[in-house]
């Protein structure tokens, strides 16, 4: 089998930017030029090859070099050393919206997008109906893109990108968009590419997607290949190591802390992490700001996390989840999802999660909080099953959700009619 992608000794150095993205003439005149810049290696001596028709996944924490590697494979940018050789037409599902314009109609955008993606006008015209059909946007195709919802825009963008016929396909985190049904459709489409013998490179944070699609996985760490092999093997190793990393960094000797409610925090039992930054207090507040351990289903809840960074940490992530006593998680969120970061540096800090409505069914729950390294590499402090929360009300039954609901009773018209007819 011929190799579709050969990467040989690839290294890429980046300048660590300060606050200013580009130099200005002032900097140049004042002699503040490149010499002062710091460099770091985004990729170091990366070598691998992908046989034609294989699907390979790049995994690793943020900043490990996955996207950089992906772009270099796609021919964007120039490596400091090493070579990339690819055979065949490259298609890319990255930055899906690029080239689309809000004032143009769906139809116009399909042409622009398709040609930017590498098709000729004739090719776009030939596939136009298929693209519109795939995007399920027949009714809106002559409306300007600005009238589309975000989901519709992503559907259009994906549909265009999905109709190039590449021999090598690069996919970067695009499967994170759209509703579930469309996501499934995208996955099916990618599987179809695969069946057609297309070589695929995939970057994804969802291990289930990697499992589903990839034949092999390359695990990048700090810009270098840490492991390259069959999906199951490397992925499991990666997941284990991420967990190990937290366990390894958890200090063995730390005082057991007693919380105001009487629960004890014991390391490696209900507390995990390196404790470089410590969660000092967690408060659950009602809508009015009173501390609570019990709320009505559908009420608001605030989770206040007071922490103290013993040493300077860079932009940690805060997470909150709500779980049942059996450990099943009902709700899970973090600052990274919301696109926010906690401030960098040492010293005390506080962050508050505001939940507008907590529509959980009545019962006993725990609120779990954590602070994590900014790339999810390991955890600073994590409190598991230490903050109880009782939710009152809501229906009984097995379910965990209790959204606002209403049953209404209406007689079936036909049933009535037929009953009347039968009675006559």
């Amino acid at each position: 089998m011929q190799d579709a992608i050969v990467v040989d000794g690839l290294s890429k150095r980046f300048r660590r930017h300060g606050t200013q993205p580009a130099r200005t003439l002032k900097d140049l005149l004042l002699g503040r030029n490149m010499r002062r810049s710091e460099y770091f290696w985004g990729l170091r001596d990366v070598s691998f090859s992908v046989a034609q028709g294989r699907t390979v996944g790049f995994i690793g924490p943020n900043g490990a070099g996955k996207s950089t590697l992906m772009r270099l494979v796609g021919g964007v940018g120039l490596p400091n050393s090493g070579k990339v050789r690819t055979v065949g037409r490259i298609g890319a599902l990255l930055d899906l919206g690029s080239g689309l314009h809000h004032d143009l109609t769906g139809r116009e955008n399909i042409f622009v997008g398709g040609i930017i993606a590498g098709m000729t006008r004739a090719e776009v015209a030939r596939r136009f109906d298929a693209i519109v059909d795939f995007a399920e946007l027949e009714a809106f195709i002559d409306s300007p893109l600005r009238t589309y919802s975000t989901g519709m825009q992503m559907r259009l963008a994906f549909a265009v990108a999905a109709h190039i016929d590449p021999q090598i396909l690069l996919i970067d985190e695009v499967l994170a968009v759209g509703d579930l049904a469309f996501k499934q459709k995208c996955l099916e489409r990618i599987k179809k590419f695969k069946a057609q013998g297309c070589t695929i490179v995939l970057v994804s944070h969802e291990s289930s997607q990697v499992r589903q699609l990839c034949d092999e996985v390359i695990w990048l760490r700090n810009g270098a290949v840490n492991a390259h092999g069959p999906t199951e093997l490397v992925l499991n190793q990666y997941i284990t190591e991420m967990e190990d990393e937290t366990r390894r960094r958890t200090p063995t000797q730390a005082p057991t802390m007693r919380l105001p409610m009487g629960t004890e925090l014991r390391l490696n039992q209900n507390r995990f992490g390196s404790l470089e930054t410590q969660i000092e207090a967690v408060q659950l507040l009602s809508r009015r700001g009173y501390e609570v351990i019990e709320i009505d289903s559908g009420d608001a809840l605030q989770v206040v996390i007071a922490y103290n960074a013993l040493q300077a940490v860079e932009a940690p992530i805060a997470s909150v989840s709500i779980s049942r006593p059996d450990g099943s998680i009902c709700y899970d969120t973090n600052t990274a999802i919301a696109g926010q970061t906690l401030p960098t540096g040492a010293g005390p800090g506080q962050t508050v999660l505001q939940i507008e409505r907590l529509d959980l069914a009545g019962g006993e729950y725990f609120v779990n909080v954590g602070l994590h390294e900014r790339n999810w590499a390991y955890t600073y402090d994590y409190h598991w099953h230490t903050y109880p929360l009782r939710i009152v009300g809501g229906p009984g039954g097995e379910g965990v959700l209790c959204p606002p609901q209403q049953w209404s009773l209406e007689a079936r018209r036909e049933a009535q009619l037929s009953a009347e007819v039968a009675g006559q």
Partner: protein, 272 residues
């Protein structure tokens, strides 16, 4: 675990045949130019008419100023100034827009397989289209003034081509340097407003004192404006020698600009 690549079986990316590449380049250029045109006028009531309104206003002001306020006594002044304004606007707007052309198209530049070098061409071509769309009004002015259209009009595409090459060469230089030094846009706006006065747009080149003439005519835009006037105003063939000089300069500038642009383009991704 570390699986090294099997070296040996040498291979090269098989590029598409030249014909297919040309078709693609044509389609890409056409679609991007038409995108720019559509975006610019899509939501304005007068639409494409703005292309003509802008130079018309300038011409109106110049005609009033230099026919009435400071009479320069140039015959057929409207046609005279029209030629200058149209050629200059094409040149100036292209360069302005080229400066931001890379930095504002970050997502295209970061896209695998996208030929970044097409962006400055799109900018210059879009503005050439505006120039061409204003030509009918110039022709109307020529007819009103009773000027004959001579066979010299046949030289027009050639002059157009020379200006295209000159502008594109500069556009490549400006687009590439602006990515690394964001001051370029400011320097450019000062430079262009100075050059505007050093180009015979609202006055005639022969008013420049003799001792500065040589220097003055080194400005390629001065030569190009004269060429347009020869064609439309005087109805004579433009000065072949001067035009050839500008053409050679344009080719050299284009080669330089394109080379620098392509070299720099590998680093665009890091700077955006």
């Amino acid at each position: 675990m570390h699986i090294l690549p099997q070296k040996g079986d040498a291979m090269a990316s098989r590029p598409l045949p030249i014909a297919a590449q040309l078709i693609y380049a044509r389609d890409l250029l056409r679609e991007l130019v038409s995108r720019d045109m559509k975006i610019r006028y899509k939501r304005s009531v007068l639409g494409i008419a703005w292309t003509m309104i802008n130079p018309l206003m300038q011409i109106l002001i110049f005609t009033f100023l230099f026919n009435r306020v400071l009479p320069l006594n140039i015959p057929h002044y409207t046609v005279f100034v029209f030629c200058g304004v149209l050629a200059w606007n094409w040149f100036q707007t292209s360069l302005y827009l080229a400066a931001g052309g890379i930095t504002e198209n970050r997502d295209l530049v970061r896209r695998p397989g996208f030929p970044v070098a097409v962006l400055p061409v799109v900018t210059v071509a879009t503005n050439m289209l505006h120039f061409l769309l204003s030509l009918p009004i110039l022709l109307v002015c020529i007819l009103i003034d009773g000027l004959p259209l001579s066979p010299a009009v046949a030289a027009f595409p050639l002059v157009l081509l020379v200006q295209f090459g000159l502008t594109l060469g500069l556009a490549y230089l400006i687009a590439a340097t602006h990515v690394f030094f964001r001051d370029v846009q400011h320097i450019l706006s000062i430079g262009l407003s100075l050059l505007f006065y050093l180009t015979p747009i609202f006055y005639t080149a022969d008013r420049v004192p003799a001792e500065y003439q040589q220097l003055y005519l080194l400005n390629p835009m001065a030569q190009l404006v004269s060429a347009y006037r020869a064609i439309f105003l005087q109805g004579i063939w433009p000065d072949g020698g001067a035009l050839l000089g500008v053409a050679i300069f344009a080719v050299a500038l284009f080669a330089l600009g394109y080379t620098i642009f392509v070299r720099a383009s590998y680093r665009f991704v890091e700077e955006l």
